[in-house]
């Protein structure tokens, strides 16, 4: 059963570093840092393990205070430090909103434009690497072939789905109450067709049956009245952090539609809680300053890392080396090209005179080029393209393609994707080229063989 959330009392006690507040805060931090669906076995870990995971996650995000790493994991002390850690997380990013977004109920047909949940390698291979028997390289080739086949299958299934989706949108246009949407999504149409879910494929709502929230009932109990002072923050915050995904004992008696309505209502309560939080959060930060003040300033401890999970170290070093290789190769090419051009230019324009109009023109060119290159640099320095926020977007079909100011137009997204594609293809070809050179060198060492490359694309 779901433990109840920390009461405001807990947070007050944590300010004074009372030990009884500690376990609840460890749990809260765990929930925030490891937002997992509750049917995941990780959710039922022992408190010590949870504490270790919290430490590890905070460290990898760069948490500055070493005191956290030194806290005992049995929940006996350290509540103030945990409170500071929580506030640190809250200050760095929109944590409540992100948590809401993770458990959001998608009502529409959604497509993710950015690649955050892409099929690129699923996380660290470390957990998957077992002591395999040595394999023949041809097995690796076979696996690769299988992968290519699966991609082709995906592509064709995807195309079919688009056709069907488009038809459904077309046929139901004019139905939706919300004018900006105009037509039903697959999920909504399915709900109309089969509200009781008799024929429904379970789990259609991407895990919706698990999204029933016991906290819904609790949430109703916590009245989310906006108030001043830290008291209500914690209620609001806890409401948001509360993990959805608990199965009500009798959820199977609820029709999927009713379950959906319940979940939506719960989500609405949480949204309201976050909005309240945001409106009044200034008071929270003022309070946290007082918490920080009650902390005795510590001398920086020696850089002892404390315990951490036994794990396989990252291959970060290798990745950096590859980038270094790439950049150096690029630098050489550029150097060659630039020197060549510079020589040609000097030869040509050297005799053209150096009148004032020439230098004005030259300066103008320089400025223009600088501006262009500056824009280019911003492309990679900016962490994200502000025009394309994270996350899935609801697909809406409009015959005229008219889109509001805030909406994304498919044509633009296509353009962006094409340029990403070009970029990635360039990288891939570059890497393959490196390999070709490397292998050619090895092969060249052997006399008596002719290497016939396959027909190019």
């Amino acid at each position: 059963s779901l433990p109840s959330g920390p009461s405001p009392e807990i947070f007050r006690r944590a300010k004074f570093d009372r030990p009884e507040a500690t376990p609840a805060l460890w749990q809260l931090l765990f929930r925030v840092l490891a937002p997992l669906p509750l049917d995941n076995p990780l959710a039922s870990l022992a408190p010590e393990v949870q504490a270790r995971l919290v430490k590890s996650a905070l460290r990898s995000q760069g948490y500055p205070r070493l005191a956290l790493a030194q806290l005992p994991e049995d929940g006996s002390q350290g509540s103030r430090e945990l409170l500071l850690a929580l506030s640190w997380l809250l200050a760095r990013g929109p944590v409540p909103e992100q948590m809401l977004a993770q458990t959001r109920v998608p009502l529409g047909d959604e497509m993710t434009v950015c690649q955050c949940e892409a099929l690129a390698s699923p996380g660290p291979p470390a957990p998957q690497v077992r002591a395999e028997d040595p394999v023949d390289v041809r097995y690796v080739q076979w696996l690769m072939g299988k992968l290519r086949f699966r991609w082709r299958q995906l592509v064709s299934s995807q195309q079919e789905q688009c056709t069907l989706l488009s038809k459904i949108h077309l046929y139901t246009s004019g139905c939706h109450g919300d004018q900006s949407l105009g037509h039903l999504s697959v999920a909504e149409a399915e709900m109309l067709r089969d509200p009781e879910g008799g024929q429904q494929v379970r789990g259609f709502w991407s895990g919706n049956p698990q999204n029933l929230d016991l906290a819904y009932l609790k949430g109703l109990h916590f009245s989310c009245t906006p108030g001043m002072g830290p008291r209500t923050f914690w209620k609001d915050l806890w409401l948001v952090c509360e993990q959805p995904g608990l199965l009500l004992g009798d959820w199977s008696l609820l029709s999927p539609l009713r379950a959906l309505l319940r979940t939506l209502e719960c989500e609405n309560r949480r949204l309201e809680a976050v909005l309240t939080w945001r409106r009044t959060e200034l008071v929270f930060w003022q309070w946290m300053d007082t918490v920080l003040d009650t902390c005795a300033p510590r001398a920086p401890a020696a850089a002892s890392q404390g315990t951490f999970l036994p794990g396989i170290p990252e291959h970060r070093g290798g990745e950096l080396e590859l980038v270094a290789w790439e950049l150096r190769a690029l630098q050489e090419e550029l150097q060659e090209a630039a020197e060549c051009r510079r020589a040609a230019w000097e030869a040509k324009a050297g005799g053209c005179g150096r009148g004032p109009e020439w230098s004005a023109v030259r300066r103008a060119s320089r400025e223009a080029v600088e501006k262009e290159l500056g824009a280019l640099q911003r492309c990679w320095e900016q962490d994200r393209d502000p025009a394309q926020p994270h996350g899935p977007h609801r697909l809406v079909r409009r015959e005229d393609g008219a889109a509001g100011d805030w909406d994304l137009r498919a044509a633009e997204v296509i353009r962006t994707l094409r340029s990403q594609e070009a970029c990635l293809e360039a990288v891939l070809h570059q890497l393959q080229g490196q390999c070709r050179q490397g292998l050619a060198r090895l092969a060249g060492a052997l006399p008596g063989l002719i290497w016939i490359p396959p027909l190019g694309r």
Partner: protein
């Protein structure tokens, strides 16, 4: 044969990629099933697998019984019709004024009253089209006794009733369903279960009102949240920054150490820089300048690019140094969703309810295909890096000679240089004796 740890890593990576593909395929197929079913005729619900009601063959339109209605049924039908008409009259008065949210979604009704109690005389006979009058008081006792087994179908009727109401609603609002029922009832038999397709009647559908209400509330709350994020109050932001700084100084740290995430993010950025610079270089080199000014600009660009690469390399050295002095960190069991090279990481704003508007099937297909292609390319690049890290050392250090070595070479070449798609040929060139 490849060495053990090399094999392990390669197989693990490829298997992971295969699993991810398979999962995606499964999701797609599930979605396809649902879509296909939606586009077929919407069947009468008698074909459903659910247990009880043996009798009711309710469906979207006027469901007739499978057999001719018995006299008992007809009588009950008449009761029901009367009740419906009365309810309709009552409703007309009520709904003129106000909200439709008293409208009986069987769902909201169920949450109000314990399931099983119906605030509406349920249709005894499948020949009933759903009435809208579910907030009328139950008029007939006998009607209620048979509710439970038929509750299931009756709920469906209600939802269907919504649709039929709207379907006929425009023209003949209230009396519509009632009258129609009356007329239909005697002639219920000849009427086949009217299944309809989305194509014909799709635009007549309406979502249940309870759902609409909750969904619109949901949408407006998300919009509020999103606008609040973008126009974040400067006070709060300032307070947060101040707090972070205070924390930094209080913890006695001088320069914030580079976290693993930041290193990762920087590496990604450098990759991106590399590919963008390379692309730009190609553009410049392939462009044929027509006049001297263009040539000059081309030259300046190339030199500028060179300088930028130098800066990147410098940054890389700094990163390398930072990584080297910190002990290797274990990865937390679950990272935040892994950001791809094309997408940034860091403190991103959370989801905002932006719509993605498309105008034709073609466009949607292009969009989806491109997205898959980008994902595939990213995966390929990742695998390429892994292969390079594992295979190249093996190939160069191997002790093999002769045919096994050639096999290895061919395989390595195919995997590394052709993405596994093509294989080169090796000819032995024996000197002619």
């Amino acid at each position: 044969m490849l060495p053990r740890d090399c094999s392990g890593r390669l197989v693990a990576e490829l298997q992971g990629a295969l699993d991810a593909c398979a999962e995606r395929q499964l999701q797609l197929e599930q979605s396809l099933r649902v879509c296909r079913r939606l586009l077929q005729a919407w069947e009468p619900t008698g074909t459903r697998a659910s247990e009880p009601p043996p009798g009711p063959e309710t469906n979207e339109e006027d469901p007739p019984p499978a057999c001719t209605p018995s006299p008992q049924d007809l009588k009950e039908l008449e009761f029901l019709t009367q009740a419906l008409e009365k309810a309709v009259r009552v409703r007309r008065g009520i709904t003129k004024a106000g909200e439709t949210d008293k409208v009986p979604s069987p769902r909201s009704r169920s949450t109000v009253a314990p399931p099983g109690t119906i605030a509406f005389a349920p249709p005894q006979n499948p020949g009933r089209a759903g009435g809208r009058a579910s907030d009328a008081r139950p008029t007939k006792g006998p009607c209620q006794t048979t509710v439970p087994p038929k509750g299931h179908s009756e709920r469906q009727l209600l939802s269907l009733g919504h649709k039929t109401r709207v379907g006929t609603g425009a023209r003949a609002p209230r009396p519509g369903p009632g009258l129609r029922d009356q007329q239909m009832a005697p002639s219920a038999a000849p009427q086949a279960p009217k299944a309809f397709t989305l194509k014909e009647k799709g635009h007549l559908l309406r979502l249940p009102a309870a759902f609409r209400k909750v969904a619109s509330q949901n949408a407006s709350l998300w919009a509020q949240l999103s606008s609040m994020q973008t126009s974040d109050s400067t006070d709060a932001t300032a307070a947060k920054t101040q707090f972070l700084q205070n924390m930094q100084t209080a913890s006695g740290g001088s320069q914030p150490r580079l976290s693993a995430e930041e290193v990762e993010a920087e590496t990604r950025r450098l990759w991106k820089a590399c590919s963008l610079l390379r692309l730009r270089m190609r553009e410049e080199l392939s462009a044929a300048p027509t006049d001297w000014m263009q040539e000059y600009r081309c030259l300046l660009t190339l030199e500028g690019l060179q300088a930028m690469v130098g800066q990147c390399l410098h940054r890389l050295q700094e990163l390398r140094a930072a990584v080297a002095e910190q002990p290797p960190r274990p990865c937390p069991v679950r990272r935040p969703p892994r950001a791809s090279p094309s997408c940034g990481g860091g403190a991103d704003p959370a989801w905002s309810p932006q719509l993605l508007v498309y105008s034709s099937t073609q466009e949607l297909q292009t969009l989806a295909a491109l997205r898959l292609r980008v994902a595939m390319l990213e995966q390929q690049i990742h695998l390429e890096k892994v292969l390079m890290a594992e295979l190249l050392p093996v190939v160069s250090n191997t002790q093999l000679q002769g045919p096994p070595w050639l096999t290895l070479c061919r395989a390595a070449h195919s995997l590394l240089c052709e993405g596994g798609a093509r294989v080169l040929t090796i000819l032995r060139d024996d000197p002619v004796d």
